[in-house]
Symmetry: C2
Subunit: 444 residues, 2 copies
């Protein structure tokens, strides 16, 4: 994954020039959090930490990039010269990738000289919000289709190539079994799935000839798309072909339906296949699916689903109200009080508490130096610009998510009922907020 140093908002660089002129390079603490969850989300899954750390480790300005900045006419040469050696050498504490989290809980904390902590804001948000968005959406699909095989089909309508790639990763982490995105297979080792489109059928003059040609071409991967013309008529061709292919030891794994009333068609197709003795041929469905539609199809005899556009764009909530905010500079806690955008000051920690059955019970948000009972969620992941651990395996993160989703109270798993998980503010954080407001003259 490439990360140009120019992949940032211009104001990060103009601010850096200001800090440089003013000699402001003391330690800053920034935290990344979500202010409010979207209406139909009861929890979020932190994802994208691997790419965020990769970005921080690789961040540097090329000569070409510095030339471009010079040409804008906005920067002093002496300031630009300092960017030549710019490296991120700060500390990062973060929730492990795949952690469940809620509003106002920091998922990542950067502690670094002010310019370093400032410059990285844009790309950190860009990387973490998107994968978090998709992992959270994908988990809802997994809840809606228990026991079904879900595959990401979203690349074509993803917002560009990186979105397609990272959405495939996030969906896999959240419990999808794979993706149609070949690049995601290569880059991340995610299992890839795919067989044929309508164009394959249409390019043949005869649907049965298309089925036969495909099956004989790749006898170990035979899934036949049956809705190009008349779905039920196509099933008769599949049955005839299954018998023919069986004589050569070729097995039809499944048929795919991509349009129409998927539940009704699946029932009719299942009945026909079973009546002909082909119970082993599965049914795969796709087309305009999301967690709501998957829930409606709960009882349909469908073994797996391709979920595309609405997953990859998180179409009912295509962004998170997330922020990366200065919490402390030069040892002094800071707080923004803009209307509707107030923040809790200082470096923070989140403690999680479970009930007797091991289910999530409540979290406590407090200052980083307050040591409380419970599971501390933010852990050291980078010190002085170096990772403390090698990249986690996708399977490891996937297992963490599965384990955590298993500990989620039932009410929070509901797709369309808003339940607020309790996040308490500890006395230490209340005290720090008061002190900060008093120092800033906001309290008497």
């Amino acid at each position: 994954m490439t990360h140009s140093a120019l992949l940032t908002d211009l104001y990060q660089l103009t601010m850096l020039q200001g800090y440089w002129h003013e000699g402001m390079a003391e330690t800053a603490v920034f935290e990344l959090f979500v202010r409010r969850l979207p209406p139909d989300r009861n929890f979020l899954i932190a994802a994208g930490l691997e790419q965020a750390l990769d970005y921080l480790e690789k961040l540097r300005f090329s000569a070409t990039e510095l030339d471009y900045l010079r040409q804008t006419g906005l920067f002093d040469d002496a300031f630009l010269a300092t960017l030549r050696d710019f490296r991120f050498q700060g500390d990062v504490d973060a929730m492990p990738e795949g952690s469940l989290f809620f509003a106002n809980e920091p998922i990542l904390r950067v502690t670094a000289p002010l310019p370093q902590a400032q410059l990285v804001e844009t790309r950190l948000i860009n990387l973490l919000q998107f994968q978090t968005l998709i992992a959270s959406k994908a988990a809802r699909c997994v809840f809606a289709a228990p026991g079904k095989r879900l595959v990401d089909f979203g690349l074509r309508r993803a917002h560009g190539s990186e979105a397609g790639l990272l959405a495939a990763r996030a969906a896999y982490l959240a419990g999808f079994i794979g993706t149609s995105n070949v690049l995601a297979g290569q880059r991340f080792g995610i299992p890839v799935f795919g067989t044929m489109a309508h164009s394959y059928i249409m390019a043949h003059d005869d649907e049965l000839a298309a089925f036969r040609g495909f099956a004989r071409s790749q006898p170990h991967n035979v899934v036949l798309l049956i809705d190009t013309y008349d779905t039920l008529a196509a099933v008769d061709k599949v049955i005839a072909l299954a018998e023919e292919l069986a004589r050569d030891g070729i097995r039809i794994k499944a048929v795919r339906i991509d349009s129409g009333d998927l539940g009704e068609l699946a029932r009719a197709v299942r009945t026909k296949l079973d009546a002909a003795g082909w119970s082993e041929i599965g049914i795969f469905a796709s087309g305009d699916l999301d967690e709501y539609r998957l829930a409606e199809l709960h009882d349909a005899p469908i073994d797996g689903f391709g979920v595309g556009t609405k997953l990859t764009t998180s179409s009912d909530a295509p962004y998170l109200n997330c922020a990366y905010k200065l919490q402390e500079y030069a040892g002094v806690p800071r707080r923004k009080v803009s209307k509707g955008k107030q923040t809790w000051p200082g470096a923070k920690q989140v403690y999680r508490h479970y009930d007797a059955q091991g289910r999530l019970d409540h979290d406590v948000l407090t200052t980083a130096d307050d040591h409380l009972e419970g599971q501390a969620l933010l852990q050291p992941v980078m010190r002085q610009g170096k990772r403390l651990q090698p990249p986690e395996s996708l399977v490891g993160i996937r297992d963490r998510i599965a384990a955590q989703l298993g500990r989620l109270p039932q009410a929070l798993k509901r797709l369309d009922t808003r339940t607020d998980y309790p996040v308490a503010i500890a006395p230490a954080l209340h005290r720090l907020t008061e002190e900060t407001d008093r120092r800033m003259g906001l309290l008497p």
Copy 2:
């Protein structure tokens, strides 16, 4: 821009293997179009052609990519060997980038040997749908804020880096004056804008000191963010500073408001600035904006807006119902009749008609070999894999869009009223559809 050959759905490659085994490499015609416009869109703007052509020209498989495909176990070595020399050598006809278009009108037609035309489906849709989505959304923002300066602020909440980059491009084409995205500035020459964030103010112990430090650091780019604590109190500091800076020849260009009731605050800020004799200091606003909010702020004394998340994600319509469909193979027109997804067969052309005032009146969709009155919208852009013209300048496309939006009937410019632009089906296309259905046995 990099385009891996693996940036595709696996089924494109399994189909290619099928075509190879069956010896199917005759000429295919595919067209890319939008089936239905989203509820709040009366028109779309075709964008992304430049990146699509770039992709087609550069498309090839690297040795590493072929190795990965081999490892999947899905492909014959002999088939993979054919991919080593894979090049796109087909023809492309397209609407010029920035053309207005409507449902069912092809914006791009690929005519190439079947495997070539097939493989490119995923990335072509990926590139064209996203920029089209954003250009169309951005044009609505431009309508909603006539005479105001609009800047793209969306990178952080874009779906990955490519989305941020291409959204900046699409918004600029549609009439935005620039972007905060520095990489978009470098790659595309789009004007970049930006000054300071709340963190800059918060890192200082004193708001006035922050304003002063910033202004003296970059005296030609002074826009001060005034809503970190108390917006109106901050204006008093701006006024005091403006007088101090004026003595050194430094001018405050504008203040920025990023929270609260933007209209009400802008009025109060304007009144204070004017009363102090600082009418030359402009007001810039940002925060949660889209075309609907911009329309509400129509009368507020705001000179420019930063539009971010809701633009970059096209949040009210984060995807288009678009498709890339086989229309003809080996000289025979093809048609999909899946429920709700029927297509018009054959290679097509769109003719546009204007009324006496030069405004768009209606379009006619017909077969490519039918020559009608009106402006033919699809033009040759690539022959045998080579572009016919060098890349267009962004300014050229931008001017085309501005000219076309000026010819849009008033009803189609409305933000929240659906008006269907008339697209007639020519007799030749009706005849071809009947012939196709009869040949396919769908008609008696």
